[in-house]
Amino acid sequence: MKFYLRLALRNIKKNKKLYSSYFISTIFSIALYFIIKTVGNSPTLKGQDSITMFLNLGGYVIALFSLIFLFYTNSFVIKNRKKEISLYHILGMEKRNVRSMMLLETIVIALISLVSGIVIGMLLSQITSVIILRIIHKSIHFSLIFSIDAFIKTIIIFSIIFFLSLIYNISVVVRSNPIELLKGQNIGEKEPKTKIFLTLLGIIALSAGYYIALSITDPMQAMVLFFVAVILVMIGTYCLFTAGSIALLKFLKSRRNFYYQPTHFTSISGLLYRMKQNAVGLANICILCTCVLVTLSSTICLYNGIQDSIKRQYYMDGTITVTDSDYPNQVYEDVKGLLKNKKYDSLYALSYYNYTGSLKKNKVHLNDYDYNHLASINLISLEDYNHYFNQNLSLNNNEVYLYSYEGYNNPTISLENIPYTIKGQIKNRQLQANNCFAPNNISIVINQSALNNYKLKSKSYFIGFNASKKVVEEVTTAIIHKDYNYLGNKYYLSIQNSYEDIDVIYELYGSLLFIGIFLSMMFLVAAIVIIYNKQISEGFEDQNKFEILQNVGMSQKEVKQTIQFQVLIFFFVPLIVAIIHLAFAYPLILRILKGLQCNDNVYLISTTSCIAGLIIIYTIVYLMTSKAYYRIVKR
């Protein structure tokens, strides 16, 4: 046993090059999982439902993704070690012994990975918790304890993954034919054929997907269509990476003056063969990149948009809206009574008609759910306005006063096709009354007699005041617990505590952002490790090829250029295609985000910064990879 342990240790040490990227993958996944579990189990977050829910969900995603990802990196290692292991077999080691050697290797690897992953996880969870608190705007002290639950779950899940990998490795080695392995894989492969049908299918699917994505104007109603677009784009991506790439390379090859150039010559012919094995992998990476870009840019945008939407919605600390009641001012009196002897200001009430509708240029339609011109519209009678705000304004029947949060520049406005002149704009936010989720928000003050021309729904009654968090909470709870049967049998009371709501919003969007970043990190690392591994194993396969090329007279410089070109394509083609996908999805995502109160500029900035960040990371890894590749190939 001791002998096998020594052998196992030596094997891992000797295959440093192969195992280093495997260790990075395992330690990274374990640390990530442990962090998310530890933070999720923190007593500080008890009761913060949305963040714990997101953290749990993120935990599942990471576990599942780790399984696939680590299985892949493992298969890469074993593929390159098959020959070595079968040599033991030929030299007289029994299958039983090979198995126990591999078992010991796996145990050593698992131990190293788990210990370092968990230690790193422990160190980083402290920082992570600080980041989370920052993101969700909590200034409490975060107490992190060593979570036994996280510890056990991490060990169980990753032990299962290591065990499955071991079973796979043993089956690979047992099934392999030693003589074939020793001879090496020098059997030439046929040049791949152009698949015109698949290429065309890819082009059609991709353009159809793009077209649908661009033509959807109402994403909420066209959810099905949206998914069709996503699936079409995915089909297009796979077809074009597998068949389209080969068609393109063959076309380039047929253009003799282009093909017979030192770097093109070797790269094109090399890529033509590589594509056969790598096209699906590249398509996967492309889709991973697209996911990363979409998640990251939209979560960042949403988070950055919070300030905006809070400013728009929560201009009063406490609000109460009463609808369908005949005696709403009783509630007002109650609130006034509750606030007596307390510090407060701007207490006011207002009765008005609230509609969801559309605002297109200067045309307002009530109850019109045109998604692109959605607006929240308040109609206030002049009499009510004068009464509640102690004013003495007057209007003709074809005149209105107007309040708009976004700003309104037209001299006239038509309400259900009846035109009015705007006598003046009222700059009083109190007219906004209800909190409002629509992108446009206007209040129209109009004569009661003019209002009577419309079929009106029943009036709402709004009460708003500013006070400290404690006072607002006291008042709102007291109102909730009051018996308001006398208000009528259909009445509806909605109470809002802005402090609480802002907390909830920060928590919700903050956890979204956190999970977005966390998962993007995982996907990105996976994508990078996959490309790195692919390139390194290709370097080993290409050693011979580059030796021949140098024998025939290729200079070191040209070798370097060829490698850089080849690696460049492998790294950046998926990224570029991902960016193109994002560009076509951009208007659609923007529409969805606008519905969630995000503005264009914020989204543009977050998207471009995500792309820029990704390109920077990619470039660093690209330089590292091409260097490593060159070191392998150099004589």
């Binding site: 150039q261 030192p262 010559f265 021949i548 024998n551 025939v552 007279g553 290729m554």
Partner: protein
Amino acid sequence: MSLLNVKHLQKIYSTRFSNQKVEALKDVSFDVEEGEYIAIMGESGSGKTTLLNILASLDKPTSGEVLLDGKDLTKISDKHISAFRRDNLGFVFQDFNLLDTFNVADNIYLPLVLSKEPYALMKPKLEKLAKPLGINHLLEKYPYEISGGQKQRVAVARALITHPKIILADEPTGALDSKSTDQLLSIFDQIHQSGQTILMVTHSSKAASYASRVLFIKDGQIFHQLYKGDMSNQEMYQAISDTLTMLLSGGQ
């Protein structure tokens, strides 16, 4: 002046972790005239591969110089060495060194492409070579689809297409069966007849018997040389065998 002058070549290998030094070449000097066909023979470890690597400018000697057409190979900078090798030397290797990702024609074009020759100039050069080498029906095939003898003829075409000053062949018949060996040797003979200078390193007395001069190398030194003169291949073969026997038995 002769085409190639090799003067007092010495090559010492020292391993990285010990002070032990191995002297692969002690003091090798010889000249090659233009149009000569030279075979270098010697046992494994005699230093003949080291010598060929230095002639091929793949390796640098510890001391001494190699002049090709008066130009010292050992003094050419790394930056220019590849281009120099491409333009002046042609290589034929034991294991063919053909690339599986290229078809036969592209394999032959390789050195020309690396010298950035336009396609229009490359094509007639290939056509001129393909026929005498008997490979014109193979041009669209891939290396893994053809036999060893055919592969080696493709490799010869690749070596010849740049019109090199000298062809360096490293055990060209080493991986071939006897029929392909005969074919290849007669091709070398033809090339030689047409005026091409050839320097071949070989184990095989038969291959060496085609050469116009044979150099025997032992323990890093030129030990003996044989001129073919008017001898037939048969007689030359006999002479080589005798020399080898003498070499092995250690006598003078």
